[in-house]
Amino acid sequence: MQIPFRVVFEQRGETPRRLSLLVPLASVFAALFFGALFLIATGHSPIDTYSNMFQDGFASFNGITDTLALSTVLICTGISAAFAFQMNLYNIGGEGQLYLGLIGGAWAGIALGDHLPTLLMVPVVLLCGALAGAAWIFVPAFVRSRLGTSEIVSTLLLTYVGASLIKHVIYTPGSFFRNPNTSFPQGRLVADSASLDSFGSSRLYPTFFVALVIAGALYWVVKRTEFGYRINVIADSPRAAHYAGIHANRTTMWVMLISGALSGLAGAMLIVGPYGKIEPSIITLGYGYAGIVVAALARNNLGLIIVSGILFSGLRVGGNNLQVTTDTPIHIGVMLQGAILLFALGGEAFRRYHIHVVRVQDVSTKKVAA
């Protein structure tokens, strides 16, 4: 059977500005509409659900401060993903590197805690978390740059190893990271000098500003430094980079290590901020995976990640509270994350191509003309 119409994709020379804004917005609305269909089908009210989500995510003091608090973590995991993705290095194991950041940060906070003042201690904890995250990606980075082993699968596999490690250090009796004073297995608290106070009655910690500064600093590195220039050349054309004498291997290694360090940093921020100890429930929260969505929504633009990180956190916070305020399952939030990303990917085509439907006959005449 012959279909009389055909969809033609015409590459755009330049993307109209309005589409750059319109497409992401339209994808969010399309995903919300899709989610609404699901909610109706399962007997929930989409209007109540969404207004509750908005109320709890953005439009209340606790809502917006919780959103900003969560965005602290998601901005870090987001730039971790985007920084590697922009060079076509798909570090999707940010989740595992975040676990190691938690372990590294907790180690510093427990072992060095009594010897240093807070002003020095907090940066040390953050640094140790970042180093642990970088260490966790070292093997994938090394084999990717030397042997070309797919970093997609290797970083992901290590996430499962990291999850076992978290459980191990908390559930093993007598473990360094386990609270010795409780029979119920939980993390040992870090020293007071290693934890920060939140702002007023909120759950927002000063680490939020650290995340903003780091996002800004990396944006500057990519746009203004020689290292950033090398990343852009390799991303555009590995062959051109090779002829220009750029060592792709070394840059690959560094970009992946920095990406791992950023996810590790996100974990350490949870130590100095809300947790103060290793919280084994971290392995169910998926903050590392959410970073991939945040990065993809911002199209790996390090500046836009702050915006997408905050929007996305609001969705999460609002979604989490649904369980409390209504009987809607909490997972609608995660489902919407995936749906938004899927719609954004589909929408991307409208940004890059001029899509129009033509009759099959028109296509054949066009071809002759060309």
Partner: protein, 312 residues
């Protein structure tokens, strides 16, 4: 040491390999057409809960398996449309499918949490054959889907290398421009095999639910099997027969912790045993990659790249 437990373990290793064989075959068909679908884990999870709900409501495991496979094909079609029609980044699209599938599965699974399915797939009884020591429980103690999975791998190998459609499939993954010049639709072939692949993954997820776990434990139901299946395809060099071998091997590493625990062998920390399948996969993956070995290993040359006729 008790001999029986090792026999039992071998039987279980082959059983757990069933999901891996089906999921890896699904990924293999998809990748052979040139589409990289990283969403396997999400498809496994969603088809698992769908089959649970369908089997539980209808009382028929067969309906559960069918629904699970259809859901697998449906989810894969999202990926197919995004990658083939919209030319989206296939890596990100696959990841989006994992996130979407995980959320969807947990959303659908809310009423099933902590419950066990009312009807399960039972092993086939071969009468006296099943009572033969050692061989009996390993070879004749499996259920129909396990035998089907192995048969499918053999058929897939014949199909891929000895039929015209198989040649077209391989050509689409290696050199889509030639297939296009032959007057075949690259887009249609890719969408078709991505969906067939999704159905196979869906069957694997349904089987995992209805024969192995028989209860819904959120993401722990699949626990990364989808990612191991993706690594398995690389391990097998995109060849169906080698998938059987690899899947059984990984089945052993997945089963080992339980066996050692049952045997009260505790000098190896259980956390390390838990890590073992993932570490083994990682080591296999690294060992198989040497510079320039991508073609030798048989990766489809156009894997992950959209086909655009007019672009030169």
């Amino acid at each position: 040491m008790n001999e029986n437990i090792w026999v039992l373990m071998s039987g279980d290793a082959i059983a757990i390999a069933t999901t891996l064989i089906l999921a890896a075959l699904g990924a293999l068909f998809t990748e052979r057409s040139g589409v990289l679908n990283l969403g396997i884990e999400g498809i496994l999870l969603t088809s698992a809960i769908s089959s649970f709900l369908a089997a539980d409501a209808s009382g028929s495991v067969w309906l559960g398996l069918i629904v699970g496979s259809l859901i697998g094909a449906l989810l894969a079609s999202i990926h197919a449309v995004l990658s083939v029609v919209f030319r989206a980044n296939q890596i990100v699209a696959g990841l989006a499918l994992v996130i979407f599938g995980t959320g969807l599965a947990n959303f659908l699974g809310k009423p099933a949490e902590g419950k066990t399915v009312s009807t399960v797939i039972k092993p086939i009884s071969f009468g006296p054959l099943s009572d033969i020591p050692v061989i009996g429980p390993i070879v004749f103690g499996q259920d129909i889907i396990t035998y089907l999975a192995i048969a499918l791998a053999i058929v897939a190998s014949r199909y891929l290398f000895n039929t015209r459609s198989g040649l077209e499939l391989r050509a689409t993954g290696d050199d889509p421009a030639t297939v296009d010049a032959q007057g075949l639709s690259v887009a249609r072939i890719r969408i078709r095999y991505t969906m067939i692949g999704g159905a196979l993954v869906g069957l694997g997820g349904s089987w995992l639910m209805l024969a192995q776990s028989a209860g819904w434990h959120q993401a722990a139901t699949t626990n990364g099997l989808g990612w191991i299946a993706l690594a398995l395809v690389v391990f097998a060099g995109w060849r169906p027969m080698r998938i059987i071998f690899g899947a059984v091997l990984f089945g052993f590493t997945l089963q080992l912790p339980f066996t050692l625990q049952a045997e009260q062998i505790t000098f190896i920390p259980s956390a390390f045993l838990e890590m073992l399948p993932y570490l083994a996969t990682l080591i296999a993956l690294i060992a198989l990659s040497r510079p320039g070995s991508r073609n030798l290993l048989g990766a489809p040359r156009a894997l992950g790249t959209p086909f655009v006729r007019d672009e030169r």
